[in-house]
């Protein structure tokens, strides 16, 4: 599976004009892997979708890096890029006003807010896409986050296409107070409408994913995927330890822990996400489109013709587990 994306540019080039910086990582640096402590040459790491070749540690990615890795080259069209945060509470804390904080974050991150929304294709299949950028205030969910996600959902309904969210978040955007909390209700309500329209929501949980995002739209998707070892939970481990004086078990809140506890559908390593997404999209499209057509065809068939059924694979007599796609871990 390695090198799956080589036929497209490693990272789809980000338009440097839009946000004023190019986010790709220089190829000539050494990076220490937090998973195995090995020094990795960043070119090698980049060529491997920023997954450590030694221990498979998945490095965190910026939103536009994820979009580039997932979508067909040149297919991404950004939506709602000009919805900007403001300061409804007139909030200021020890480090100054919220506006000041936003401005510094925008300059440093090169993004205007914590999610990028848009439309793209994956293996030719169209979808609406909302991707969190953890480098923007920990991808905290504020008004703009909620609004962009809801608009993307509404656009998906209008266009009749599925929605995929790639999630990472530290939680609520504290600076926006209760406006922030209410985005949980707002996003979930919009996604109810997507479901009522028969369109799927695929969610990918990436490291780290906590608080309001996990406790709203991201975990009630039709399919919930997680990247290996991603940390996912409601309350953070530090809060739990402080509150309960409890020692937390090894592997607590990892994607593997969530899978074992029945909370996610499958763990998908980064190099498999594209093919898994395409496979799922094909199934839902199939169910949507083929069902109606097949009904008609079968009607004809049922009145006369022999039924010839062909199955895809007759190769090995017995199936080893591991051959099952999606049989995670």
């Amino acid at each position: 599976m390695r090198g799956f994306f080589h036929r497209q540019s490693k990272f789809q080039p980000v338009d440097p004009d839009e946000n004023g910086n190019d986010q790709s990582i220089p190829d000539d640096l050494w990076v220490k892997c937090p998973g195995c402590n090995e020094l990795l040459y960043s070119k090698e790491l980049n060529d491997n979708l920023r997954v450590c070749p030694k221990c498979e540690h998945h490095f965190r990615l910026r939103a536009r890096e994820r979009i580039a890795m997932l979508t067909d080259v040149g297919s991404f069209q950004e939506w709602s890029s000009r919805i900007l945060p403001q300061n409804p509470l007139g909030f200021a804390d020890g480090s100054g006003t919220y506006e000041g904080r936003l401005e510094r974050t925008q300059r440093k991150s090169g993004e205007l807010e914590a999610v990028i929304a848009g439309e793209a294709t994956v293996e030719g299949k169209p979808l609406a896409l909302v991707v969190c950028d953890f480098d923007f205030l920990g991808a905290s969910m504020g008004s703009v986050f909620g609004e962009k996600l809801v608009r993307a959902t509404e656009a998906a309904i209008e266009r009749g296409i599925p929605l995929m969210t790639i999630n990472a978040s530290g939680g609520a955007r504290m600076h926006e107070g209760l406006f922030s909390l209410m985005q949980m209700a707002k996003t979930v309500a919009a996604l109810n409408r997507l479901g009522a329209a028969g369109l799927p929501h695929l969610s990918v949980l990436t490291d780290p994913c906590y608080g309001g995002v996990t406790a709203s739209y991201a975990t009630v998707a039709d399919v919930v995927m997680a990247e290996p070892k991603a940390m996912v939970g409601f309350a953070g481990p530090r809060v739990i330890e402080q509150t309960t004086k409890q020692k937390l078990p090894e592997g607590f809140q990892t994607a593997e822990f969530l899978l074992e506890h029945g909370m996610v559908d499958l763990i998908v390593s980064r190099d498999q996400l594209r093919v898994m997404t395409a496979s799922l999209l094909t199934h839902y499209e199939n169910a949507r489109v083929v069902a109606a057509e097949a009904s008609a065809a079968v009607n004809a068939e049922a009145h006369g013709e022999d039924i010839v059924v062909s199955f895809h694979s007759m190769a090995p007599e017995r199936a080893p587990d591991s051959a099952q796609t999606g049989e995670a871990l």
């Binding site: 000009r82 919805i83 900007l84 945060p85 403001q86 409804p88 509470l89 909030f91 200021a92 804390d93 020890g94 008004s143 703009v144 909620g146 609004e147 809801v150 609520a172 504290m174 600076h175 926006e176 107070g177 209760l178 406006f179 922030s180 909390l181 209410m182 985005q183 949980m184 209700a185 707002k186 979930v188 309500a189 919009a190 996604l191 109810n192 409408r193 608080g211 309001g212 996990t214 406790a215 709203s216 739209y217 991201a218 975990t219 009630v220 996912v232 939970g233 409601f234 309350a235 809060v239 739990i240 509150t243 309960t244 409890q246 078990p249 607590f252 809140q253 506890h261 029945g262 909370m263």
Partner: protein, 290 residues
């Protein structure tokens, strides 16, 4: 979203009360809790227990009772008024079982076309190993999903502390009311202070800056009505409870008049109106495309 011209909302405290004062009032252990409201406002209450998958959470209770002549489903966080009861009630911090029970009972209400009344009174959802293992985040999220689509009217009232997702999990309502000395916040003042000021002792300042009081949230259009407390509710519970009952009753009657429970098409409109209510909450600026 709703008529906010009711004179009851103009009532202001005689002396200025700081946000931190409100927090302390909202947390006063002698303040009436959900069972006190049930006792005074509800007849023939039958408590229904359990989530049907793991346990029964006594921090979030629910059941069927008669309110204002109508059988309704009532849900609420339940804090204790002393340590013993607080241990039983987990200080009103619900576990996944509690939210799953709430969801189950809301679906029950929908099936039998009973309106839903919720009382919010929690510092937040239970933050423990066990609750994380059993999917605290998903339990809350699923409750939000259910409420957002529920085909009966819902009136929620913040009677004390409304803390974080654990509060909102029973707060996706057609009308959201707050008692004058309740607070509703994205995180506790202490939590906010340690995150934003790196100092939990700045909680009073955080309480002020985070705009968590009923009057402020009414101004933002996030809640629909402030229920006056001429005296703090723990000093005159009967008056506060009665005023709360009157307010809930008024809103419920309005909702039922506008969206009759026997009328399926009206219930579609009810869910659409609830969507619009939450859809419109947010604050942003929009540049015209360059």
């Amino acid at each position: 979203m709703t008529d906010v011209a009711d004179p009851i909302q103009q009532t202001a405290p005689e002396a200025p009360v700081s946000a931190w004062d409100r927090v302390k009032l909202a947390r006063n252990p002698k303040r009436p809790h959900t069972l006190d409201y049930l006792h005074d406002l509800v007849a023939d209450f039958v408590e229904l227990h359990g989530d049907r998958t793991f346990g029964d959470d006594q921090a979030l209770i629910g059941g069927i009772g008669k309110f204002d002549g109508r059988s309704v489903m009532i849900l609420g966080h339940q804090k204790g008024s002393d340590t013993r009861e607080n241990l039983k009630r987990n200080f009103g911090m619900a576990r996944p079982e509690g939210y799953r029970k709430a969801e189950r009972l809301m679906r029950h209400a929908e099936k039998f076309r009973m309106p839903v009344i919720t009382f919010i009174d929690t510092s937040g959802a239970d933050p423990t190993l066990g609750s994380e293992e059993r999917g605290q985040a998903i339990a809350i999220a699923e409750s939000l999903v259910t409420m957002a689509g529920l085909r009966v009217p819902i009136v929620a009232t913040v009677i004390g502390e409304g803390g974080s997702g654990g509060a909102l999990a029973i707060g996706v309502a057609d009308r959201v009311l707050m008692l004058e000395n309740s607070v509703y916040s994205v995180a506790s003042p202490e939590g906010s202070a340690s995150i934003l000021w790196k100092d939990a002792a700045k909680a009073p300042e955080a309480a002020e800056r985070m705009r968590i009081t009923a009057h402020e949230l009414l101004e933002f259009g996030i809640i629909d009505e402030v229920i006056a407390e001429p005296a703090p509710a723990h000093e005159n519970a009967r008056t506060a409870i009665r005023a709360t009952g009157q307010a809930i009753s008024r809103h419920l009657r309005e909702l039922i008049a506008a969206f009759p429970l026997h009328d399926d098409e009206a219930l579609d409109r009810l869910v659409a109106a609830r969507y619009t209510r939450f859809r419109s909450i947010g604050s942003w600026q929009e540049e015209s495309a360059g």
